[in-house]
Symmetry: C2
Subunit: 462 residues, 2 copies
């Protein structure tokens, strides 16, 4: 079966599309989740057009071979982990970008990087807001497939809010184009929105059409440090009650230490927590808004609060936040969590995570897109110590259980992928899980699309 499929791929596609060299294939087995259970694929394909994707999907359907669509391979939940004897469908070469200033939109191949889309938009005075921390290395197709978030989402929304349309190759090889440059369109079911966040389980996204907005105003920045987790989360709660900061980020003590160690930035390492807030209202309003945020932080017991409308100074603090994940990764391997809760539960969540860290004797620095209640605890792993790893995995699961118990979600912006699949039914419940499965079965009856992501891989061969 696999041999026949491979032969047919070789016959139909240009030689440069197929990667069969084992050393190169090896590099496509994992994404940034580093799943130790990653399989060994039959072949990696790197198509350059929707039509080539159609040929590949058609062959995969004919021989019932699993297909794993892959953007830049930066998934943190194993959304693009390879499966044994499957096809890794890398979209990295489909990376064209065309900005349409007249409709304030952009058409991009799924392999274009988020940062490249931002740069292309900026050349026309326009802005594509969603900004995952990994925006310089993650693909726009992956962003759409996971409904990625980021730092500015607290004011500007997440990826789905910018997706006007897309081209998809369905699991039976049909090519469809959903939506387009119409800003409002309610004709038929919201299929565009259904494919956003579907993690490659319903079809392969081969082009996206995204909305742009005029460039952001220069933001004004506030940084405040707090003597306790609770005082920082209280300040978050007070700020979001009445204001829409364009950024509201949180770092705990361990994260501050990691950033200082990696960058020598000299953030206050006595603080239990630090908040970075920005306002991008017009200058006078932004200053006024930032001062209100500063007053709230001081009321909530901040040990220090500092405001600046100097863009470079502000950007330095944002950079500190952006380098937090790499800084912690220097401490060892990590399991990057992505739990979110309703804002009033943020304090219980971050305090609870600290307790889990203490109980299991595992380091878990935590940062958060605090204004969205979306946190990233990083469970640090010692790759040389199996016993520590067992404790770390225990802690990883308990953090999700904690979030579910607080009315929260197991994933705010990274996706379920393969790593979080075991917790999905606990979170959604049986009825909603079954509803997910009904839609999966309706669109991918053979179960070839990214098996193991979101849904259990099932053997549908008859």
């Amino acid at each position: 079966m696999e041999r026949l499929a491979l032969e047919e791929l070789q016959q139909q596609l240009p030689a440069d599309v197929l990667v069969t060299n084992p050393a190169t294939i090896e590099s496509y087995r994992w994404d940034r989740a580093n799943d130790p259970e990653a399989g060994t694929p039959l072949v990696v394909v790197r198509p350059t057009s929707t039509e080539q994707v159609q040929q590949i999907v058609t062959i995969a359907a004919k021989y019932r071979i699993a297909l794993v669509p892959r953007g830049a391979g930066t998934s943190l939940s194993g959304g693009s982990t390879a499966v044994d004897n499957g096809i890794v469908l890398s979209l990295e070469r489909m990376n064209s970008i065309e900005v349409h200033p007249q409709t304030r939109s952009v058409t991009a191949g799924p392999g274009a990087l988020n940062a490249e889309v931002k740069v292309a938009a900026a050349e026309h005075g326009l802005w594509y807001p969603p900004d995952p921390s990994s925006f310089e290395i993650c693909s726009i197709g992956g962003n759409v497939a996971t409904n990625a978030g980021g730092l500015c989402c607290v004011k500007y929304g997440v990826t789905t809010d910018y997706v006007l349309g897309m081209t998809v190759v369905l699991a039976d090889g049909k090519i469809i184009t959903l939506g387009g440059p119409c800003i409002k369109d309610v004709a038929g079911l919201s299929l565009t929105k259904l494919f956003v966040g579907s993690e490659g389980t319903l079809g392969v996204i081969t082009e996206v059409h995204l909305r742009l907005i005029p460039r952001q105003k220069q933001p004004t920045t506030m940084v405040a440090t707090f003597p306790s987790l609770e005082s920082a989360t209280q300040a978050v709660q007070q700020i979001t009650r009445t204001m829409r900061p364009s950024m509201l980020e949180f770092m705990d003590h361990a994260t501050i230490q990691a950033v200082n160690a990696a960058t020598g930035m000299g953030l206050d390492d006595q603080a239990a927590a630090l908040l970075i807030a920005q306002s991008d209202e017009s200058t006078a309003s932004a200053v006024e808004e930032i001062q209100r945020m500063e007053a709230i932080c001081t009321e909530q017991g901040a040990t220090e609060a500092f405001c600046t409308d100097d863009p470079e100074e502000g950007e330095a603090f944002v950079t500190a936040r952006r380098v937090a994940i790499p800084s912690i990764e220097r401490m060892g391997a990590v399991l990057l969590e992505d739990v979110g809760v309703p804002l009033p539960k943020l304090s219980e969540l971050v305090v609870g995570i600290n307790q889990i860290a203490t109980r299991h004797q595992v380091s878990i620095p935590t940062m958060a897109h605090a204004g969205d209640g979306n946190t990233h605890p990083l469970v640090v792993l010692d790759p040389t110590d199996p016993e520590q790893q067992a404790r770390a995995h225990q802690a990883y699961g308990e953090i999700m259980d904690l979030a579910i118990g607080l009315g929260g979600t197991i994933t705010g912006e990274h996706g379920v992928g393969r790593l979080k699949r075991p917790w999905l039914q606990d979170y959604l419940g049986e009825d909603i899980m079954e509803l997910n499965q009904r839609i999966k079965d309706a669109l991918d009856p053979l179960g070839i699309m990214n098996p193991g992501a979101i849904f259990d891989a099932t053997d549908k061969e008859n």
Copy 2:
């Protein structure tokens, strides 16, 4: 069959839930689309809880009786037109509203009016932006079911952008609660977004959880009149290229005349078109932004342009726009169109609509949420003249054909309902229509949910 279903409804539900009085039932046959083919329902039910809705859906499924969910009955495309021997499920009594300031969100019953949600939010200094022209009389459940738009959507987005979660009774009677107060949540497929805009064809929405934002700043207003349709649409194009007005509305000559006739407002009735724009940036920025819009209008040949930061004066112009539909309805019955195009095609669309009006000798005043490219041509009908009505219906269809030909949509914000169903496949194409149907069949295998809306009613009885 119907008799048994009715008996079971009578046994299981409190007496006040069932309406069997023919005179009262009569008033539930139509919505604002006034479909002459409206059926006569078996019964109207007015439940007061999700559990009662569950009982009703379960009985409907058992006896395969069609269910037509209904909010306030303001659909303009026949989304809640009754069907023969079906059940009209009116959600008007499920109208509770609870604002949660701590999560900046609101939980509402589907029967609550949009205006009531806005008022409840305002009591906490918060704002629910989506504002259909009918916001004072349309229900929030209907807004969610149609993904309704409005005037402020050009800056603040449409209903789906504010839906965080909902409770739904599925076609098999299961109750599910999707999403909730977590702002970011990507666990599983985007089912919440799929139900938004599904027009009652996938399940019955019995509660919605909506995101709120801090109250809007007082807007500054500009009104400009133009000697031609093209100059007005060119100004729209130039404004949206670089700015995000909080409102950008268009009225053509016939609409201006109708508004003047109904209100005596004295708008310039020599103008071919009029634009009303608002900016709700902070005061200094808003004035600057409005002045840039004024300069663009003057460049594009506006005969007059007027700016005001007086809120009452600004509101008077917005009211002129809001009363446009009722003003035209005074001229006779209307077929209210809802076509949208990519912004660069707006000029061709409004000019083409004028040509259709001339060709068929039918009055078609047109207004538009111009900044979204979403227009509302109102095809005026003479109820006493069948020959005129035939021409009017011809024009109605040709407007949709024109929009499709310009790469536009047959419905920007009103929904497909029953009136636009004949054009849906022309717009979506066979493959996407089939994909819609696959999801419909997966969620409503018996075809009992709002048959005839979006999808052809099919007889699934075996």
